[in-house]
Structures are given as C-alpha cells and as structure tokens.
Amino acid sequence: MVAQKSKLNRLNAGDYAMYIFVGLFALFCMIPMLLAISVSFSDEASISRYGYRFIPSAWSTEAYSLIFNGSSSVMQGMLISILTTFVGTLGALVITASAAYTLSNRNVRYRNQLSFYFFIPMTFGAGLVPWYLMCNALGLRNNFGALIIPSLLFSPFNLFLVRNYMSGLPNELREAACIDGATDITIFVKIYLPLCKPVLATVALFYGLAYWNDWWNAIMLVEDKKLYPLQYLLLQLKSQIQMIKDMQRMTGGAAAGGRAPSESLKMATSLITIGPIVLLYPLLQKYFVKGLVVGSVKG
C-alpha cells in the first residue's frame, strides 16, 4: 500500500488524465451490464414505480425462480443451445483440424491450390438468398441439423489459423513417423492433435461462442418453437409479451405473485445466456484474444 502510494506520487497530470480516460471507458463497458443485472433482481412493483435502478429499492429473485422452474420454454431453449453448441463445436473442430493437417502436410503437392480453394469463398460469397435456397434444398429446415450445419460448422478463417500453427511444427515429426510406417491419420491423431492444443483451444472457443450466440440459423431456417435456441427465444421474447404470459401461466407465477414480473424476467433471461461466457471468461481471455490478435495483425 505504501509502495503503491509513493509510486502514485510520481505521476503527473498527464498520467492521471490517461488513467481516468481508460477507467471511464472500462466503466462505460460495464455500467450497462450492471444495470441489467440489477433490474433482473428487482421487484416488479419497484420497477414500475421508480424505473430501472442500479440499486433496486426492493430485491426479488422471482424472475430467476420462474426461469429455472423446469417446465419453462427458457429451459427448453437452454437445452437446445447447449446441445447445438456441444455437437456443433465438436464437429467443427474435427473438420477444421483434419483439413488443416492436410494443408500443412508438405507431402501434399497441391496444398497451395487447395488453400486457394478455401480462400475464394472468403472473398466472394453468393449471399443470403442462394444460401437460403441451398439449405432448403438440402432439407435443413425445421430440424436440429438446421441449427448446426449451415454457416457455423466450418470457417476458413479458423482453418488458416490452425494450418499456420501446424506449419510451424517441424516437418521431421511427420517424416519420422512416416518411416515408422504410420499413416497420415495416425500422425494427425497421435502427434499433431496433442501438439496443437493451444490453437485448438482458441478455435474451439471461436466456434463455441459462435454457436452459443447464434440466432441466424434459427431466424432463417426454424419455425418450430420447440427448436428455438436461447438467443432466438430472447429475440422473440423482446417483442412478444404474450410468450412471457404463457410462461407464467405454465409455471403458475402470475397466480401466486399477483403482479407478473415481466420486466425483471426479460433481463434475467438475457443474463442467463451470459452465464456460460462468464464461467469461461478466464479461458476466453487467455486463448480467444490471442487467436484474434494472431489472426488480424499477422493476417
């Protein structure tokens, strides 16, 4: 404490201005979050009297108990989101890593042409309509596959990230294993995958976050309410008060509490989608940022 104070004493006005500016920006990023958290714990009556407050005049956890009641549509959406995220990330990771292995394999003579094959769609996409018609033609409509397969299962950006990492590994590894009679699949699974853990963690986080936050596939391809992932359910919830009422009728909240906690319920629902992100935050800080930096600064 004393050491810190003496260090602060040497700071001049410019330093203070910098600390204040950066501090204010950090606050600007966090304050809206705090407001949302506080609203989710507010008593409905106090919201309608005083509006949204940073410190609610009356606390209530009714919104959360409604959500976690078990029979609510939010729980169903959560289940769908968890399933899509898990299955999708795993699939995407396997496809990306195995393709990256081949593109970094110096024995494959056409690897540069193949890289170019993956590069073209990154620059020129056909757009929304052909993608939509293609998904329809493939029967990716109103089913679980529609939430997983289109758009998210593979990204060339991630492919190049993993490929660059694998290209940095010494080629002797592959040659030695090759002489010992290992096939490419064995080399990939037994040697390359364990060595690539950091970049695979990065890519898994990229894919996982994209799946968790996705509502694009749902809005385009899914009409069945049972299949709505959490994010899309939230988007619907924002405009449809009716859905909240249904939820409360199902869980008996309105009958018991008299006043429906619709305001706090909205915020609480949006906040539970952040839950997993908060849990994974240390990992995100470690791998996600590094991956983005490598991807954008070094292209």
């Binding site: 949302a36 309608s48 990939f188 988007l235 924002k238």
Partner: protein, 318 residues
C-alpha cells in the same frame, strides 16, 4: 511410403498429376474431404443460384424452370425509394463505425501502452473485452434497459434535468448516434487490445534512444508509436472498407428489429434483403439486391487490396 517423403525431388514436373498425389497421400486427402465437401456445397454450389436475380423465381418450377425476366428485378430495386435509403444507411453507418471505431481503439491502445500500473491495465482490459463476447440479442436487452420508454435510464436522466421523456424507439434521428455508441461499446475494447499487441511489438530500443535524445512522452507517441502502428491500422481499415457494402444484420436486427419508424436511419441493405426474402417472400428481388451488393463489394475488396499491395505489400490479401 519412402517415395512420398521427398516429393520435391520431382522438380516441379507433375509427372502423374493430381491423381497420383491423391493416391500417394490418400489418408491426407481423406482428412481434407469433409471440409472440401462442406465448402463445395455451401459455397461453390450456391453460386449458380445467383442467376435467379434475372428470373422470376418460383419454388415449384425451380431455378432452371423459372422464366427469365431480364433486369426487371434490378430495375425494381434501383427505382424504388428504398434503394437510396438502404444504400445510404449502410455506407454512412459503416463509415462511422470505421472512423470512430478506429480512432477510439487506437487512442485506447496508445493509452494502455503508456500506463504503468499493470494491475490497472489488466483489470480495465477485462472489463473492456467483456461486451465483445455477448450476442447482439443480449446487447439489445441492455439497450432496452437504457432507452426503454417508461423505465429506461436515459429518460430518468432526461426527466431529472427537467426535460420531457423521449420515446427513443420511435425517433430515427437519435439512432445513428446510438448505433455508433453500441458498436464502440461492443468492439472498441477488443480492437484496442489487437492494436496494443501491434504496439508492444515495436522495438523497445527505439523508445530508449528517443528518451536519451530528450523526447518527452507526447513526442514519443506522435513520432514513434503512431508511425510504426500505421501499417496495421491502414490494413485493418482497408479490409473494413472492402466490406463497406455489407451491413451488420445481427446488430441492426437485434437492436432495432422491425421498427418501421426507425427505418429512415437504421434500415440497411442486409435487413432489407432479409425482409424481401422472408416477409415479402420474393427470392428473385432479394437476390438482385444481394448481387448488386456483392458486385460493389467485390470491387471494393479488389480495390482496397490493390491499395494495400501498393503501400505495404506484406499486408495484401492476395
């Protein structure tokens, strides 16, 4: 197998071509197959669908069966009042995002680099990066907490200072600012960290010798940090300029939604295409707008890549 270890010996002469390469590396190609198939189906196979822009697409007749209609779909879009509005909004919003976003994140990165307290830098970074991980839907709710008519924070502040409550979600004139602020809120922190990584890559000895020569902090920033970070900034900006015709559908749709009253300043090409496809239900018209967008987008990508190549060849995409 031994033969496959040194293919370079063949001296670039493709003796047996791609088939022998596949035969020799069959397991490698097998590993590549899922990704190739995925891109083939979801990218290359979608290109032929683009011709429906020149047709009157009918789901029953299919792509080939539908009748041609020339450029009618393009004419319809370009002569509608919506065209000017959505193109203008897309360009204005993207330009503002690029300008304000780059300025802010660069400024933050330089400040973060100058701050001496590592704990402070770590803590503020933790806060700054957080919004980046949220989906726009969640951001939409947070925005609602601020700008909601009845209970929102903004109106509480307005009335506290004696003003009259503003119905934010019906007044388009505020939304350009709101959208730029939300973009800053979500992405400026992350971009600042990316720029910070580029700044920390600058050789420390340059700063040391400048300090010995008597340069103060401001001079060091202006004369060393800024010029040395410029290539990265230019590349990232040009890449963003290449995508200037493509709006952020997720952002607009989640924050604004189908609020017709706000279209004046918030409706972008992507949301318009979405409505034409899913609400009006006319794939051909939607495709025509999308094709127009893609073509201008392609010109912008090639153009900006050319500029990058001329200025800093190492930053060019191809």
């Amino acid at each position: 197998m031994v033969n496959s270890i040194k293919p370079q010996q063949m001296n670039g002469k493709y003796k047996w071509g791609i088939f022998s390469d596949i035969a020799r590396n069959r397991f490698s190609y097998l590993l590549l197959l899922p990704a190739v198939a995925y891109v083939f189906i979801f990218s290359y196979c979608t290109y032929p669908y683009m011709i429906i822009a020149f047709k009157n697409f009918n789901y029953q007749l299919g792509v080939w069966g539908s009748e041609w209609c020339g450029t009618a779909n393009f004419d319809f879009f370009l002569h509608s009042t919506n065209a000017m509005r959505v193109i203008r909004n897309t360009l204005v919003l993207n330009l503002l995002f690029i300008l304000v976003g780059t300025a802010m994140s660069l400024f933050l990165a330089i400040l973060l680099n100058e701050l001496r307290s590592k704990t402070f830098v770590k803590t503020t970074q933790t806060f700054m990066l957080f919004p980046h991980y949220l989906s726009w839907v969640v951001v939409g709710y947070i925005l609602l907490a601020i700008f909601s008519n009845k209970n929102g924070l903004a109106n509480q502040i307005v009335t506290l200072f004696g003003g009259k409550s503003i119905s934010w979600y019906t007044k388009p004139q505020y939304w350009t600012t709101i959208l730029v602020m939300m973009k800053l809120w979500k992405d400026a922190g992350m971009n600042a960290v990316i720029y910070l990584a580029a700044i920390t890559g600058i050789d420390e000895s340059i700063y040391e010798s400048a300090t010995i020569d008597g340069a103060n902090r401001f001079q060091r920033i202006i004369r060393i940090t800024v010029p040395l970070i410029m290539p990265t900034v230019c590349i990232m900006t040009l890449l963003a300029v290449g995508k200037i015709m493509f709006g952020d559908f997720g952002m607009i749709y989640a924050l604004v939604g189908d609020q017709g009253m706000l279209y004046e300043t918030t409706d972008i090409i992507d949301t318009y295409v979405y409505r034409v496809l899913r609400q009006t239900g006319n794939p051909s018209q939607a495709m025509a707008i999308g094709l127009f967008q893609s073509l201008i987008g392609l010109i912008m990508v090639l153009g900006s890549n050319r500029i990058v190549k001329r200025t800093f060849s190492e930053g060019a995409l191809f």
